[in-house]
């Protein structure tokens, strides 16, 4: 095994891991707060990609401005969905299932709207950071390194927000115990809307981040949602550090596995590995029991 291949595999693993993490963190946040498995979460990623395509690719807006626009637009969409669709469902019996099916229906609606509005063909966003860097004999594209840096910044910002701000503390309090948080004067409804919009915004930012590297089409969301679901459960449902760890683990398994085996074997091996991890630690890597 040559050294530069290892370096490349590490970079690819970190990038894939951060990409899964950006989507999985929101999924985990929403599950922790509201107990909803949001199957429409991948579509937020897809819509983020289209925001990048139109604002950055077509209208020539600054890339970072496009990312902030995606955060605000899709975050707002998330808050709206929480208010008109998911919040009324949480008080009903069997809410885990009904909210899942509602999210599934929404996912179809967004996919079809994307096909109708944007067309079903792949769209490619022009590359933002052009060129390559040589590190220790490995050839790395600046684009991927930039994605790693921006992804790290976004996740650190989320972490600071959750740990250091009043709203972040409120979110963590609601995730631990809804009634107790409400008794302390936390407005649970507002916190639910906030965490839903943060989750959707993060997924959209992943869309902006990955649009220049992968292609976007209306079905990218449904391709990615099942993998991030796996990441969330691997890390521990509702656990934020767990989701990050699970995402990086899956990213590394995929990038290193591809060095030695073909793609189907890698997916079989990664499933078996995750099954073994969960048999040993059923609550997930960092989950509470």
């Amino acid at each position: 095994m040559e050294f530069f291949l290892l370096v490349q595999a590490v970079v690819n693993g970190v990038m894939l891991g951060l990409f899964y993490a950006l989507i999985a963190l929101g999924l985990s946040l929403i599950f922790g707060i509201m107990g909803i498995v949001n199957f429409a979460h991948g579509e937020m990623y897809m819509l983020g990609g289209y925001v990048a395509y139109y604002l950055f690719g077509t209208f020539g807006l600054n890339y970072f401005a496009a990312m902030i626009a995606a955060l605000i637009l899709i975050g707002g969409l998330g808050a709206l969905l929480e208010k008109i669709i998911f919040r009324p469902l949480t008080a009903r019996p069997q809410m885990a299932l009904t909210s899942m099916i509602a999210a599934l229906g929404l996912a179809w609606v967004f996919q079809m709207m994307a096909i109708i509005c944007f067309g079903e063909l792949d769209k490619k966003v022009p590359s933002v950071f052009k060129g390559i860097i040589h590190i220790a004999g490995a050839v790395l594209s600046k684009e991927r390194l930039a994605a790693i840096i921006i992804g790290t910044v976004l996740i650190s910002m989320l972490n600071l927000f959750l740990l250091r701000t009043k709203a972040g503390n409120a979110i963590r309090a609601v995730a631990q115990d809804k009634e107790a948080a409400a008794l302390q004067g936390v407005n649970v409804n507002r916190i639910s809307a906030l965490s839903f919009s943060i989750g959707c915004g993060l997924a959209a930012s992943a869309g902006v981040l990955m649009a220049p590297i992968f292609v976007i089409n209306p079905s990218v969301g449904s391709d990615v949602i099942l993998k991030t679901f796996l990441v969330v459960v691997l890390g521990g449902m509702g656990s934020i550090p767990g989701a990050l760890l699970g995402a990086l683990l899956l990213g590394f398994i995929e990038s290193f596995g591809c060095l030695f085996f073909n793609v189907p074997t890698v997916s079989v091996l990664s499933f078996i590995l995750i099954l073994i991890i969960l048999l040993v630690r059923p609550q997930g890597l960092l989950g509470r029991d």
Binding site: L104, M112, V233, V268, P282
Partner: protein, 302 residues
């Protein structure tokens, strides 16, 4: 139904509805013990592939192959269930999800000469009945198949109803409401969960076998995780936990998409999705609660 129309397309859809009703009922059997099985389509796939291979490779008759396929699906589910049913809720979902993906990847990439790889298996023969030279029915025509599926669908609903009304059905309901409470009165919830799972997978195997011999082509993605999401919507839209809920949900949504929304072409899935979201939003108990809701709104108080 044959009195009204002879159009093959209608019978094709009716047959598919019947197969989906069987599948939705079998999914509901597992939901009855409080768990959602994302690998349910994989068990349908086990039924479909095993019945196809038994007929095409070993030259068995369909009437032998279908029960064998059903039993095989149930046996695999006993094995998988005894491992995975130790986990609850989201973790059970994940394990079944992994199992479904595993089956899909294995079927598409390994044993290609047997399972046909990604293109799957084609030209699967339909069943036929020969009794001497007197009775010869070949179920290649849609109308004959329609009667076969109709009988088996009614049989499935009948069995599900009998179980629902029996003592075992009561135990299932108790476990789905609270398995801890059920265990406190001496019910082995694990044993009954495995039983409920095997029951569901038994009928999933039947749906799979019928699907294979009716459509004539099976491919691995037909039985992937995505294939189980739509039937979950049928069950939830119809009403979870009741016997007739999944039947109503399947018939309603499939009729809607195949006979009514077809004319909207491109917008079909869009309208379909909107209708599902609206029904869930305003009727979370499912369509089966509609009469009661109407009565509450317009009827006289009793």
């Amino acid at each position: 139904m044959p009195l009204i129309t002879q159009e093959p397309y209608t019978f094709h859809i009716l047959c598919l509805i019947g197969i989906n009703v069987i599948f939705a009922c079998s999914l509901n059997a597992i939901l009855n013990v409080g768990e959602l099985n994302l690998a349910h389509a994989a068990f349908m796939g086990i039924g479909a592939y095993s019945s196809t291979l038994l007929v095409m490779r070993l030259n068995l008759s369909f009437w032998v192959a279908m029960p064998l396929a059903m039993i095989l699906a149930a046996i695999v589910s006993l094995f998988i269930g005894s491992i995975t049913l130790r986990f609850k809720g989201a973790y059970f979902l994940l394990f079944t999800f992994l199992f479904a993906e595993l089956i899909r990847v294995l079927l598409s990439n390994f044993g290609v000469s047997l399972f046909g790889g990604i293109p799957g298996i084609t030209n699967i023969p339909g069943p036929s009945i020969y009794i001497g030279n007197l009775v010869r029915i070949h179920f290649s025509s849609k109308i004959h198949f329609y009667y076969l599926i109709l009988i088996l669908t009614l049989f499935t609903i009948f069995v599900m109803r009998r179980i629902d009304q029996s003592r075992i059905g009561m135990v299932f309901k108790a476990i789905s409401q609270s398995d801890v409470l059920a265990e406190s009165i001496g019910i082995s919830s694990m044993k009954f969960k495995i039983l409920g799972c095997a029951l569901g997978c038994f009928f999933a195997g039947m749906a799979g076998s019928l699907y294979a011999h009716f459509v004539g082509i099976i491919t691995p993605p037909d039985f992937a995780v995505h294939a189980v999401l739509t039937p979950i919507a049928y069950v939830v839209i119809g009403g979870i936990g009741s016997v007739l809920g999944p039947v109503i949900g399947t018939v309603f949504l499939m009729m809607l998409s195949h006979f009514f929304l077809r004319q909207f072409g491109f917008y079909e899935m869009l309208i379909y999705g909107v209708i599902i979201v609206l029904i869930i939003r305003f009727m979370p108990e499912g369509l089966i609660s509609l009469p009661r809701r109407l009565q509450m709104r317009f009827g006289k108080p009793r």
